[in-house]
């Protein structure tokens, strides 16, 4: 009893970590642009593929003989994938969202554009890699830490640590740096930002870099944990993370972070009491009820902190 309970907590934390890292990306872009960036789940998917491509490349051309520590490979892969995923995020903002913004288009059109960008990423991936799924290379030997009957894999611990570390890092940026202050300010009043001598587009680009980097960390770790990749893998998990962000209160990074874990716990709880077929049904019902009771989410305040 105790062991399965503890096991479940670890699983919930692990899934919560994935949801949270993705939810934060939705939350950041929403805070700054009032845009639900529906392409974000697919950015996560692309990040997983980028990790797959880069690691394959490393094995094929750089570490040909093998025998390299998996941790070293991870340490090289993460920043590289974060970089290229950021380039993708910024590129999307530049070619798809900014032109609409500058034409003064209604927000609805931008959201629809975001949906289309997501579809383009999915289908672009399909065109490049075909419909068959890819296997993410196993770089870190999966080892099991056991104590008093509880088994935890090192990967799960890694995922959970990564979520907390990236969140702490993000908090520090948002609360302690000048550009973070600009992000908080822009979420409250975009009009006045240039009047402070701050280029609005710079803040927006920085936001996309942060959100994409988080998706990159989540994507690589997800690939390592669940090594089967396909072009649609970002869709459902992206939707779930988005809903988690809304339930947490999409305006607040704390809310998005907690929302992700809430969803993780709800899902695992349902699976351990009912059948896993009911997982999505019941968890979405619960989230729906929470939203009906508190439409602004746990941390959402009508017009206050939006980041």
């Amino acid at each position: 009893m105790f062991t399965s309970f503890f096991q479940n907590i670890i699983n919930a934390l692990q899934w919560g970590s994935f949801y949270s890292m993705i939810a934060l990306g939705y939350c950041l872009v929403y805070g700054v642009l009032r845009l639900i960036n529906f392409a974000h789940g697919d950015i996560f998917m692309v990040a997983a593929y980028l990790g797959f491509i880069f690691i394959t490349f490393l094995f094929k051309y750089i570490f040909v003989g093998g025998g390299v520590s998996g941790w070293l490979i991870l340490a090289i892969t993460l920043p590289v994938v974060m970089f290229f995923t950021s380039v993708l995020g910024v590129f999307i903002e530049r070619v798809a969202y900014r032109p609409l913004r500058e034409k003064g288009a209604h927000r609805l059109y931008v959201v629809i554009t975001a949906l289309m960008v997501g579809l383009i990423l999915e289908n672009g991936n399909l065109a490049l890699f075909g419909a068959s799924s890819r296997k993410f290379p196993a770089i870190i030997h999966r080892s099991v830490i056991s104590f008093s009957g509880v088994h935890i894999t090192n990967l799960k611990v890694l995922v959970i640590i990564a979520a907390f570390v990236t969140f702490a890092f993000l908090q520090a940026i948002v609360n302690k740096t000048k550009i973070g202050m600009a992000m908080r300010a822009i979420s409250y009043d975009k009009f006045a930002i240039p009047l402070m001598g701050i280029p609005v587009n710079k803040v927006i680009v920085f936001t996309f870099i942060l959100g994409s980097s988080l998706a990159a960390v989540a994507g690589v770790l997800f690939g390592m944990s669940y090594p089967v990749l396909n072009p649609y893998m970002g869709m459902i998990i992206g939707w779930k993370a988005f809903i988690a962000a809304v339930v947490g209160g999409i305006g607040d990074i704390k809310g998005a972070f907690l929302g992700g874990f809430l969803l993780g716990f709800i899902e695992i709880l349902i699976v351990s009491f009912f059948s896993s077929n009911l997982k999505d049904l019941i968890s979405f019902l619960i989230l729906l009820i929470i939203l009906v009771i508190k439409p602004t989410g746990f941390y959402g305040v009508a017009k206050s902190t939006k980041i």
């Binding site: 500058e102 009043d189 006045a192 240039p194 701050i198 206050s304």
Partner: protein, 240 residues
């Protein structure tokens, strides 16, 4: 210092300024007065080069500042390099930041070696209430205090030219008096001021020169005193 030449602007297809011209010289206090919808806010937003959809598009004419056109300058550069500040209509303070953070964010574009400490001191000595409330979330300030913060924030940008859009809006008479006293003091310390006011009487008493704007056109100009004695202005804006 600032020269507006035959400026025509529009929102979408609606022309809001039909070719207005005026100047502001260094060290002056100049006021633009006019009825609701005359185009006062439109003029200031055009000078600040703010983007659509809130601000209009310039279709003809020019905005010359220190001999250079501002037409192709982006709004953040207007502040960061040209050092022109705007206190916008409706204040637009960042309610989710503290009072002090609102002032701090305005120093974003200052040089590393700029004397920020003196700037804080100056703002806090002009508006001691802001100092008392510096830790407070600025949303919770009263309307008058928010207006002080908006002006203080503009001062923090290190500008030497400041445009104010109805700083007296919604303030109790005693606060209006304080506000104009602070503006006068700023002007004596070499700040050039372009002021918009609904309250023409206060504005004309306060300014060196003024322009009267009516449905997108300048219809009268002169020193504050001249305008106050102008029968048309008296009738339309000073209540007889």
């Amino acid at each position: 210092m600032l020269e507006i030449k035959d400026l025509k602007v529009r929102y979408g297809n609606i022309e809001a300024l039909h070719g207005i011209s005026f100047t502001v010289d260094k060290g002056e206090i100049v006021t633009l007065i006019g009825a609701n919808g005359a185009g006062k806010t439109t003029t200031l937003m055009s000078i600040a080069r703010l983007p659509r959809p809130e601000a209009p598009t310039v279709i003809a004419g020019d905005i010359i500042y220190d001999g250079e056109s501002l037409l192709n300058v982006s709004p953040d550069v207007v502040v960061a390099e040209k050092r022109i500040a705007l206190v916008p209509e409706g204040r637009h303070i960042f309610g989710n930041l503290s009072v002090q953070e609102n002032l701090q964010i305005a120093t974003y574009a200052l040089d590393k070696d700029a004397n920020v400490k003196d700037a804080y001191e100056k703002v806090y000595s002009l508006f001691p209430r802001l100092y008392e409330r510096r830790k407070q979330r600025s949303e919770s300030l009263s309307g008058g205090e928010q207006q002080m913060l908006a002006v203080g924030r503009a001062l923090m940008t290190g500008s030497n030219f400041i445009m104010l859009d109805e700083p007296s809006m919604g303030l109790a008479p005693v606060l209006v008096y304080d506000m104009f006293k602070a503006l006068r003091q700023m002007n004596e310390e070499n700040m050039t001021i372009l002021l918009i006011e609904q309250n023409a009487k206060i504005a004309l008493e306060f300014a060196h020169r003024g322009y009267v704007i009516d449905t997108g056109e300048i219809v009268a100009s002169g020193t504050g005193k001249e305008l106050m004695e102008n029968p048309d202005v008296k009738k339309a804006y000073l209540g007889g």
